[in-house]
C-alpha cells in the first residue's frame, strides 16, 4: 500500500522538483501589443474602376469588383499610434483618361485623414495614414 502511495506521489513530485534539462529560453523582447481597431474607409473616384483591392500588411482587407464611384466600409486593422500603410491596387479601364481616387480614413480616435491616388490603367500604390 505504502509502495503504491509513494509510486503515485513520486511521479508528480519528481516532475515538480527535477532539475531543468535546458536553460530557460531568453525572454523575447516583446513588442507593444497592437489590437485590431475599427476604422472607416470612404472612397470616391473620378472614374469608376474595374476593380479595387486594399491590403494591409500584405493581407487583403477589402476587394470590390466594378465598384460605384462612391463607396464606404468599416474594417478592422492593427492601428498603432505610428499609423498604417495601406496598399491599393486599382484597375481603371484601359485607354481611359487620368483618373483619381480620394481615400478618407477615419481612425480609431475619430480623426479623418484624406489622401489621393492618381493614375491610368492599373495602379499600385502604398498610402500612409495619417
Amino acid at each position: 500500500m505504502a509502495f503504491v502511495a509513494i509510486a503515485l506521489l513520486g511521479w508528480p513530485l519528481w516532475q515538480l522538483t527535477r532539475p531543468e534539462a535546458d536553460a530557460a529560453p531568453a525572454p523575447r523582447a516583446t513588442a507593444p501589443l497592437t489590437i485590431k481597431k475599427a476604422i472607416h474607409l470612404h472612397l470616391t473616384f473620378t472614374t469608376a474602376p474595374k476593380s479595387l483591392v486594399i491590403k494591409h500588411l500584405d493581407g487583403e482587407v477589402w476587394k470590390v469588383t466594378a465598384p460605384e464611384v462612391d463607396l464606404e466600409k468599416d474594417v478592422s486593422l492593427d492601428y498603432p499610434a505610428e499609423g498604417v500603410d495601406l496598399q491599393f491596387h486599382v484597375e481603371w479601364p484601359e485607354g481611359g483618361p487620368m483618373a483619381a481616387m480620394r481615400v478618407e480614413l477615419t481612425d480609431p480616435a475619430g480623426d479623418t485623414h484624406d489622401k489621393s491616388v492618381w493614375g491610368k490603367g492599373i495602379v499600385d500604390e502604398v498610402v500612409t495614414f495619417p
Partner: protein, 298 residues
C-alpha cells in the same frame, strides 16, 4: 585645279581627324564615392571615363587619397565628392592638385541631418550618408547630369536621356521599397544599429533609429551601458539588432541572452559592395538592406 582639289581633300581629312579626336576624348571624371561613381557612369555613359578613387567595400570614412589619386584628380574635368564632411581631405585635395576641373560637393545640395561623431561622441556633425534616401539619390543624378552638360553641352541629349533612364530605375526602386516596407507594421520600424548611418533612410520610411555605441568598438562598455542597451531593446520591443561588425562578441552575447533579440544580417551603410556581393549596384544595395530589415523585424 589640282591645287584646289588637294586643299579641299586635306581640309576634309583634317576635319575628320579633329572630329574623331573629339569623339574619342572622353570627359574625365574623378569620384570619391562608390555611389557617385555609379551615377557618373550611368549618366555619362560612353562619353565619360570615370575613376572611382574609393573602391567598393572600402570604408570612405577611413579613405585617404594616394599620390596616384592626386595625379588623376589633377587631370579630371569633373571631381565628385559626397560632401557633408565625408571627405575630410577635400581642402588638401584642392591645394595639392591645383585642379582646373569642376569640384562638385554633391551632398551639399540636400537638407542635412545631424549625428554624433564616432571619433568624438560629444560632438554633433553633419550626417554624410545622404544616399540612403532615394529622393536624395534622384537629386544627385540631376546634379551630375547638369554638371556634365556644362562641360559638354553638345552631349546634352545623351546625358538627359541617360539620366531619365536611371531616374526611372530609381522610381521603380522607390515603389518596390514602399511595397516591401508596407509588410512591416509602423510600430515595428525600429532600427537598432551600431553605426548611425541610416537616418536619411529612417526619415524617408518612418523608422526610429536607436544607435547603440559600444557593440562594434573594441572598448568594453560599462555594465551600466549594457544594462541601458538591454532596457532600451526590451522597452521598445525590438526583434533584431543590426551591428555593422561584431568586434565585441562578449557584449553582443550578453545583450542577445538578456533580450532574446537576434543578430540581423549586415547592412551596407557606407557605399556599394564589391562586384561579387549582392550590393554591387545602388539598386541591389538598397534591396539588400530593405529585405534584411523587413525579414528581421516583421
Amino acid at each position: 585645279m589640282h591645287f584646289v582639289k588637294t586643299s579641299l581633300l586635306s581640309l576634309i581629312a583634317f576635319l575628320a581627324v579633329v572630329m574623331a579626336a573629339q569623339a574619342a576624348d572622353k570627359i574625365r571624371v574623378s569620384s570619391f564615392s562608390t555611389i557617385l561613381t555609379e551615377i557618373a557612369q550611368q549618366v555619362g555613359g560612353d562619353r565619360v571615363e570615370v575613376t572611382g578613387h574609393v573602391k567598393p567595400g572600402v570604408d570612405p570614412h577611413e579613405f585617404e587619397p594616394k599620390p596616384t589619386d592626386l595625379k588623376t584628380v589633377g587631370d579630371a574635368q569633373l571631381i565628385l565628392l559626397s560632401a557633408k564632411h565625408m571627405e575630410g581631405y577635400v581642402g588638401k585635395l584642392k591645394e595639392a592638385t591645383g585642379t582646373k576641373g569642376a569640384l562638385v560637393e554633391v551632398g551639399d545640395g540636400f537638407a542635412t541631418l545631424k549625428m554624433k561623431s564616432e571619433k568624438d561622441p560629444d560632438k554633433v556633425i553633419d550626417d554624410p550618408h545622404w544616399w540612403h534616401s532615394v529622393a536624395n539619390m534622384e537629386k544627385a543624378v540631376k546634379i551630375v547630369r547638369d554638371e556634365l552638360i556644362k562641360i559638354s553641352p553638345a552631349d546634352k541629349p545623351a546625358f538627359t536621356d541617360n539620366a531619365a533612364k536611371y531616374l526611372s530605375t530609381l522610381d521603380g526602386l522607390e515603389k518596390w521599397v514602399k511595397n516591401e516596407l508596407a509588410k512591416l507594421p509602423r510600430d515595428k520600424r525600429k532600427l537598432v544599429t551600431s553605426h548611425d548611418a541610416f537616418q536619411y533612410f529612417a526619415r524617408e520610411n518612418g523608422f526610429t533609429i536607436y544607435a547603440i555605441e559600444g557593440i562594434s568598438s573594441e572598448d568594453q562598455p560599462s555594465s551600466k551601458k549594457v544594462g541601458e542597451i538591454v532596457a532600451a531593446i526590451k522597452t521598445q520591443g525590438v526583434k533584431a539588432i543590426f551591428p555593422e561588425s561584431i568586434e565585441n562578441p562578449k557584449v553582443m552575447t550578453e545583450i542577445t541572452r538578456e533580450t532574446g533579440v537576434k543578430i540581423a544580417p549586415e547592412l551596407y551603410a557606407d557605399g556599394l559592395g564589391d562586384e561579387k556581393s549582392d550590393a554591387a549596384t545602388y539598386v541591389q544595395m538598397y534591396k539588400h538592406n530593405v529585405t534584411a530589415i523587413v525579414e528581421a523585424l516583421k
